[in-house]
């Protein structure tokens, strides 16, 4: 690892060469910035990863079954394991998806599960991302560049190669493809994750398309060539949120979607990756119930733990939250990407009181969590000194005939010593994640 650290500048200049960027909007203008990379990898031992692997597969398998149930039979609601209020009043619940069975019954093809390791060495799941989790491309390209900058590091350590992500993704797309080409649908180059969209298209040998390149004719979706001929599309890895996917079904004003694509999907003539409507399962409110979901569908205890979570919806929890607000993290269930997360201890008395009122007014809108004492990771600062920073791990689970965990992941860290928010949109950096093969 030290050997690699000597080459931190080489790696970063290679990252610049390949334009590894993400975009952000500041004051309404779009800017692209390099995603700061730290060469000190997060290392996960073989047996420890075996545990994560089991836990993550179990979690994603159960969540897929949950989605099939919610948009189908609804047994989990009939059996009152989850109050139906939590499903039907969730902003992620999409009635348009009722009764639709996606190809091969896969809902969450690509799941990004955010974990942290506590000081007690335990891993905690912070969040499930079952809609369009991004980030896999970064450790993937960083790995190939690190191998160039410091080959000896990879000769002397036994690290699983993570560059197979493209192959895993392609397998996932092919598995559900209904006959036709694979397409990655991007909102366009002014999207925060455009680098990833175009890089994954190149690496999986898929076509990178915008809404304008696709057209629905009759019951099928086509990619239109410049000569006018049409190529049938069998799977769309869409990097556009449900809301903007089809102006004829969802947000009418959407200019980036494909009119009538949802109908082709409804008829089973194209696979949408991930399936629309998944938001109901990665809702911060449903998160609380995931251990119960696992027990219900698989008859097993959850292998991975949630961070201790309270739902103000329940009276006891409300009481606890009211009394302990100043030491909890409050999350707005409707927000994503590090927004709507507030640490109680950062609030003034007055702000705390305002928050209490907000929670009482809309208990369903918030969850409260104990602050997990993160295990800090070593990070090289601007001057090359090793400092400790908060970090999380986004693990990627790809589902086709079964759930498979990618032997790597995106480790994001906070560059601000006082912050536990690691999201790239909030200025964080990233590390490679090494899973040891021995």
């Amino acid at each position: 690892m030290q050997e690699l650290n000597k080459h931190v500048n080489d790696v970063n200049s290679l990252l610049a060469r390949y334009g590894v960027r993400f975009g952000i909007y500041k004051n309404n203008t779009f800017k692209e910035q390099l995603f700061p990379f730290d060469t000190i990898a997060r290392v996960i031992k073989n047996e420890e990863f075996a545990y994560l692997d089991k836990g993550l597969s179990q979690r994603v398998t159960a969540l897929n079954l949950f989605l099939a149930d919610i948009y189908g039979e609804k047994n989990i609601l009939k059996d009152k394991v989850i109050p139906e209020d939590f499903v039907y009043s969730s902003s992620g619940y999409t009635p348009e998806c009722e009764g639709i069975q996606p190809p091969k019954s896969v809902y969450s093809h690509i799941s990004g599960i955010d974990l942290v390791q506590g000081k007690d060495q335990n891993w905690y799941v912070l969040e499930d991302n079952l809609r369009i989790p991004s980030g896999a491309s970064y450790p993937m390209i960083a790995r190939s560049l690190c191998r160039k900058a410091s080959p000896s590091t990879f000769k002397s350590n036994h690290i699983y190669d993570n560059r197979n992500y493209a192959e895993m993704l392609k397998t996932t797309m092919d598995y559900v493809n209904t006959g036709g080409i694979n397409v990655i649908l991007t909102p366009g180059r002014f999207n925060a994750a455009y680098f990833e969209h175009s890089y994954l298209a190149e690496q999986t040998n898929s076509i990178l398309a915008t809404g304008n390149d696709l057209v629905v004719e009759g019951d099928y979706l086509y990619y239109v060539e410049y000569g006018g001929t049409k190529e049938k599309v069998g799977a769309v890895y869409r990097r556009i949120s449900d809301e903007y996917l089809d102006p004829m079904t969802f947000c009418e004003e959407s200019l980036i979607g494909v009119p009538h694509i949802f109908d082709v999907y409804r008829k089973g003539n194209v696979a949408l990756i991930n399936a629309p409507g998944n938001g109901v399962a990665d809702d911060k409110g449903i998160y609380y119930f995931v251990p119960k979901i696992i027990k219900y569908y698989l008859g097993e205890e959850a292998i991975l733990h949630n961070a201790p979570t309270y739902l103000p919806f329940y009276e006891d929890d409300m009481k606890y939250v009211m009394e302990n607000l100043s030491k909890l993290v409050i999350k707005d269930v409707a927000e994503a990407g590090g927004y709507g997360v507030v640490f109680g201890d950062s609030l003034t008395q007055e702000e705390l009181e305002d928050f209490r009122q907000a929670i009482i007014a809309e208990p369903r809108r918030f969850i409260a969590q104990e602050v997990v004492d993160f295990l800090d990771l070593d990070v090289l600062d601007e001057n090359g000194a090793v400092v400790q920073r908060k970090a999380d791990l986004r693990a990627f689970v790809l589902s086709s005939d079964k759930a498979r965990v990618w032997k790597s992941g995106l480790t994001r860290f906070s560059r601000n010593p006082d912050s536990a928010i690691v999201n790239s949109s909030q200025g964080g950096g990233f590390k490679d994640t090494w899973v040891l093969s021995l």
Partner: protein, 223 residues
């Protein structure tokens, strides 16, 4: 592969045109820079007139700086390079990350050249080298010949355009025109046959009607 939408075909075509524009105008810039050094300080005025770009420059120093490096100046070399990048970025899956990286590096070199304004040509030369490397890389890694041909067609069109503006000789014009014809038929682009034939005729006439030739050239491809 080999499935290209109208929008992507347009991007490939413009990638060809803008990268060619950067390449050719950089070389012209090198020549002008040399002439303005000790022969004719006002040479840039003729240059602007020939290329039909607005002469917004105060003096030769201003031209050296702003024609090459001013991102606010839409006619500058750097602006055209950014346009090449914008078009390349959205066709990464066709031309490969490797090829795209060379355009990216051309931009970095231009930034370095700007910082060394007394002798910008050294870093600018490296920028031009990267454009050549990008073309070479595309030739090497892009399996689909149609993709390559669309880019090459765009390059020939831009080259012919610049040569017509600079009142190039019939021999040079005809040579590039025949290359243009070669790639036009192999790019499967829809084109205006009348404009194409008219341009061919103009190039045969005793006195070449340059403005009319430019007009025809612009009308050939319908995207």
């Amino acid at each position: 592969m080999g499935i290209i939408s109208l929008e992507k075909a347009d991007n490939l075509y413009w990638l060809g045109r803008y990268s060619e524009r950067v390449y050719t105008t950089s070389h012209r810039y090198f020549t002008s820079f040399d002439i303005m050094l000790d022969q004719n300080e006002e040479y840039y005025m003729r240059y602007c007139e020939a290329l039909n770009i607005p002469d917004i420059y105060v003096d030769s120093k201003d031209f050296v700086q702003r024609y090459a490096f001013d991102t606010e100046n839409t006619d500058s070399i750097i602006s055209n390079l950014y346009r090449a990048y914008d078009n390349a970025l959205v066709v990464r899956d066709y031309i490969s990350s490797e090829s795209l990286a060379y355009i990216q590096m051309a931009i970095y070199e231009m930034k370095k050249a700007k910082a060394n304004i007394d002798a910008p040509l050294i870093a600018m030369q490296r920028s031009v080298d990267n454009i050549l490397a990008c073309w070479g890389c595309i030739d090497d890694v892009v399996y689909d010949v149609v993709i390559r041909n669309i880019i090459k067609y765009g390059r020939r069109q831009e080259r012919l355009d610049l040569l017509l503006r600079l009142r190039g000789s019939r021999t040079d014009l005809k040579r590039i025109f025949s290359e243009l014809e070669f790639y036009l038929y192999r790019s499967n682009l829809k084109f205006n046959r009348c404009a194409f034939l008219e341009l061919a005729l103009i190039l045969e006439q005793d006195i070449i009607d340059y403005p009319k030739a430019l007009d025809c050239l612009e009308k050939i491809v319908v995207l």
